[in-house]
């Protein structure tokens, strides 16, 4: 299939197209993403929706966002319907996962992918990329939870101030900790936007702790 070929080429070109890891943190391009899943079991569950926003350095491009609902192959589990407020009939009209994945690949280009507990999102996305193209995503990946944890360990004043706080490292706990406003309704896009704002705050702390390049960031923030 011609479309799949194009998509494969895109994935391959990420390797040559990604920027040097020696560039400053502020000069790198990021895609901050979040997925909503029917559950956490990678064998049985599937992606319901993907949301993502682009960042250039510490600046969030509000106009460049990505949000797709997916027509699921797995049965929607009852619990997630309650959580996400998305009904099976809504999803049935949506494009199948393959189409969404190839659009996502397009959207991400060679940017660094950022997520909160990114291993989970990337696990599901990776599975779909493999199923579609029989390939692996080549983008570099960062995990905001790991960066946060590192900052906590390495920033004396931070750990003094925040040590007593709960160990809850969910996205919303971090949002609270970093004073990121959280509105009521949630979907993959709004959560990606919250993740991006948390990431923005994390990035503003790092230079003070001696981290300046993408290389430094990857060292501490891999999922």
């Amino acid at each position: 299939m011609r479309a799949l070929e194009v998509c494969r080429e895109k994935v391959t070109s990420v390797l040559s197209g990604r920027s040097s890891i020696d560039i400053p943190i502020d000069k790198a391009a990021y895609v901050v993403l979040d997925t909503e899943l029917t559950g956490l079991d990678i064998k049985k569950d599937s992606i319901i929706s993907i949301g993502a926003v682009k960042m250039h350095g510490r600046s969030i491009d509000l106009g460049s966002s990505f949000y797709r609902l997916v027509n699921p192959s797995a049965e929607l589990r009852h619990e997630s319907i309650v959580i996400h407020g998305i009904t099976p009939s809504e999803l049935a009209e949506k494009p199948p996962i393959g189409e969404v994945i190839s659009e996502l690949i397009d959207f991400c280009g060679g940017d660094v992918i950022v997520g909160h507990f990114a291993a989970i999102d990337l696990g599901f996305i990776g599975r779909e990329v493999r199923a579609l193209l029989n390939m692996r995503l080549q983008n570099r990946v960062l995990d905001t939870q790991r960066i946060h944890e590192w900052i906590k360990m390495n920033n004396g004043s931070f750990s003094r101030h925040y040590a007593v706080r709960s160990e809850d490292q969910s996205l919303f706990a971090l949002a609270r900790e970093y004073h990121v406003p959280v509105s009521e309704g949630h979907n993959a896009l709004s959560d990606a936007f919250i993740t991006a704002q948390v990431f923005q705050r994390l990035l503003s702390i790092l230079p003070g702790l001696g981290l300046f390049t993408l290389k430094d960031l990857l060292r501490i923030g891999k999922p």
Partner: protein, 637 residues
């Protein structure tokens, strides 16, 4: 949904609210968002220009400039919904000022191309920025000239409706381009000018300009032959405007190239020169030009037109987004000048006074907190006459004088005081010794009337005449107040009559019925509490200043409550004053008599919350006063 939030935000932010839905959406989809941690320098003076207009989504910034000798001139504080970076964006050469985040600040960034396009196509948009930025910036050159005094000029529609051709001075001194350096220098010296335009004698087309500086740097310093043609040293890059351009375009050019003079050409030929000063004067309602107009008047009738312009100044200052304290300062300055000129004119009419006197104002005028025209609140203190004859003479002279002043003030739009607190009332036109007796009696016997008088008169401030008389009275007051705890408790009691309108659960307490149902009185239950607290503490601690903000600052190290809360209280005062100013401004522009009643539902969410927070602080002040000034408690802290 992210975009919807941006659109929703822009719809509330000036001047974007004037844009149509499609433009807004287009703008919003190109917005990026940045976080600037507290203390970070966002733009640096003389640093690279900004490629974005930044609108503050949350947080606040300070805009300031450093002068050549290292002084810091604060241009502005900007908060949520306000923007910065416009000048450097338009100028494109460098940043005009430093911008620093005073708290963690989130900004929406709008791309330069979009803003330039909007400036070119949307008149309302351009006008807004012209007013809020460009004038402020132009003022700064005057601020530097006038030793940092605060001076505002107003931008007005006139800038958009007047062509340069109507404004330019036509007698520009020129010289032919083939003149020698010596000849040109002679012309400049003869005409006492610091720059001169060189023209092609055939068609009067400007070809270059030479300035004092060129003569110094390129001729004297280089020992160049003064018989060389002037064309060897002139600057050929002329910045010109067309006579058919509107004035604001000239203003934009001046800002863009950082110059104060602009050549104006008409069909290629030199037509004249326009300066930024001309543009300010054109607006005719700058405080500076009103002050001048006041100074030159010879009669009370002559002062009437100038006094009518004062409300226009308020209008402009409010539209420009000036802080309330700056508005009141400018208005006080102009009103003072107006009254001084009236006094001079009246003295000329009645002959010199038999003994020295001082004209004092009290109430809001005494506190330098006037905004829209308020009632007359004034009195005369005159030097104690030495003989009975002098006494009679002084009595009749000053009473006549005060009656003339009362009429003059009425003519210029200051209505008489309904309670007759005016110098024309013989009771308030007295020698210093009588004033001292008044004050001493009020303090000794704080009857309700005495307390009322004290609240009003103790804010007195000398306006004109022999200020020493007022200072003597002030220091006498300080002296006799010492240890007068019962009096201070009575003053506190008067203050505690009005509670901050916040209920037990932190909700607004509103009027339950009547004309102002669901509204609250921001003067009585807000501003008045701060004014009263500042006055009370100032009297207790012997602080002589009368303006509320000055009192709060002067008391910072003297009164424990203000050491803790003084700064917050200053901000709250500023906020409430500006809320009232905007409210009254809005009423006046709708032809309604201004009042002090505000409906919290008419406010934006942000203002409403700030108002609530403000009242919370006032409740703390209120509680600490009621605790501290219980009879017998004064002076315990």
């Amino acid at each position: 949904m992210i975009i919807e939030d941006v659109i929703g935000f822009l719809k509330k932010a000036q001047p974007f609210q004037s844009l149509d839905e499609i433009t807004l959406r287009n703008l919003a989809t190109n917005v990026s968002m940045e976080l600037h941690p507290r203390g970070s320098l966002i733009l640096q003076q003389d640093g690279p220009p900004s490629d974005y207009l930044r609108i503050i989504k949350k947080g606040s910034v300070k805009v300031f400039m450093k002068t050549g000798d290292g002084d810091e001139i604060i241009i502005d504080y900007r908060g949520e919904g306000e923007s910065f970076g416009m000048l450097s964006l338009v100028g494109g050469d460098k940043s005009r000022a430093n911008v620093i985040a005073t708290e963690d600040t989130i900004c929406y960034l709008l791309k330069k191309d979009f803003i330039i396009k909007l400036l070119d196509t949307n008149a309302a948009f351009t006008e807004f920025f012209l007013k809020s930025y460009f004038n402020k910036f132009i003022d700064k050159t005057y601020v530097e000239m006038r030793n940092k005094s605060v001076l505002f000029s107003g931008g007005d529609k006139v800038l958009f409706t007047t062509m340069l051709s109507e404004l330019i001075s036509r007698d520009v001194v020129t010289a032919p381009q083939d003149a020698t350096i010596k000849e040109v220098a002679e012309v400049m010296s003869r005409s006492s000018i610091s720059s001169l335009v060189l023209v092609d004698p055939e068609g009067n087309v400007p070809v270059g300009i030479v300035t004092d500086r060129d003569l110094r740097d390129k001729v004297v310093a280089k020992a160049r032959n003064v018989n060389d043609p002037i064309s060897t040293i002139m600057s050929v890059s002329l910045i010109k405007a067309d006579a058919h351009d509107y004035c604001f375009e000239a203003l934009l050019k001046m800002i863009r190239y950082n110059i104060h003079h602009l050549l104006v050409v008409d069909r290629g030929k030199l037509a004249g020169v326009v300066t930024n000063h001309d543009l300010m004067m054109l607006q005719g309602i700058s405080p500076l030009s009103i002050s001048r107009e006041i100074e030159i008047q010879k009669s009370i009738e002559g002062l009437i037109p100038a006094s009518k312009k004062i409300n226009k100044i308020i209008d402009l200052l409010v539209k420009e987004g000036a802080k309330a304290s700056n508005v009141t300062r400018v208005i006080t300055e102009i009103n003072d000048r107006l009254v001084r000129r009236m006094l001079e004119i009246t003295e000329m009419k009645l002959g010199p006074p038999p003994v020295p006197y001082c004209w004092i104002a009290f109430g809001s005028e005494g506190r330098s907190e006037q905004t829209f025209r308020t009632d007359q609140d004034n009195a005369i203190i005159y030097d104690d006459p030495k003989t009975d004859e002098e006494r009679e003479k002084a009595k009749s002279y000053f009473l006549n004088f005060a009656l003339d002043m009362k009429d003059a003030l009425i003519k210029c739009g200051f209505p008489p005081c309904p309670a007759n607190y005016m110098a024309s009332n013989p009771r308030w036109c007295q020698p210093l010794s009588v004033w001292k007796d008044y004050f001493a009696k009020w303090i000794e016997h704080p009857t309700p009337e005495a307390v009322l008088f004290s609240l009003i008169f103790f804010d007195f401030r000398p306006i004109s005449g022999n200020a020493i008389l007022a200072h003597k009275l002030r220091s006498y007051l300080g002296h006799i107040l010492k240890g007068q705890n019962i009096f201070l408790a009575s003053m506190a009691g008067a203050l505690l009559k009005n509670r901050p309108p916040l209920g037990f659960f932190g909700t607004f307490v509103l009027q339950k019925k009547g004309e102002h149902k669901d509204e609250l009185n921001i003067k009585e239950n807000g501003i008045g509490i701060i004014v009263g607290a500042a006055r009370l503490f100032a009297l207790e601690k012997g602080v002589a200043s009368t303006s509320t903000l000055e009192r709060l600052r002067d008391l910072k190290d003297k009164h424990p409550v203000l050491t803790e809360l003084g700064e917050e209280l200053e901000q709250v005062f500023e906020f409430l004053m500006s809320l009232r100013l905007h409210h009254q401004f809005d009423q006046i522009s709708r032809g309604i008599e201004p009042d002090n009643y505000i409906n919290p539902d008419d406010l934006g969410a942000l203002e409403r919350n700030t108002l609530k927070e403000s009242f919370k602080l006032l409740s703390r002040i209120y509680d600490s006063i009621s605790e501290e000034y219980k009879p017998g408690m004064v002076g315990q802290l």
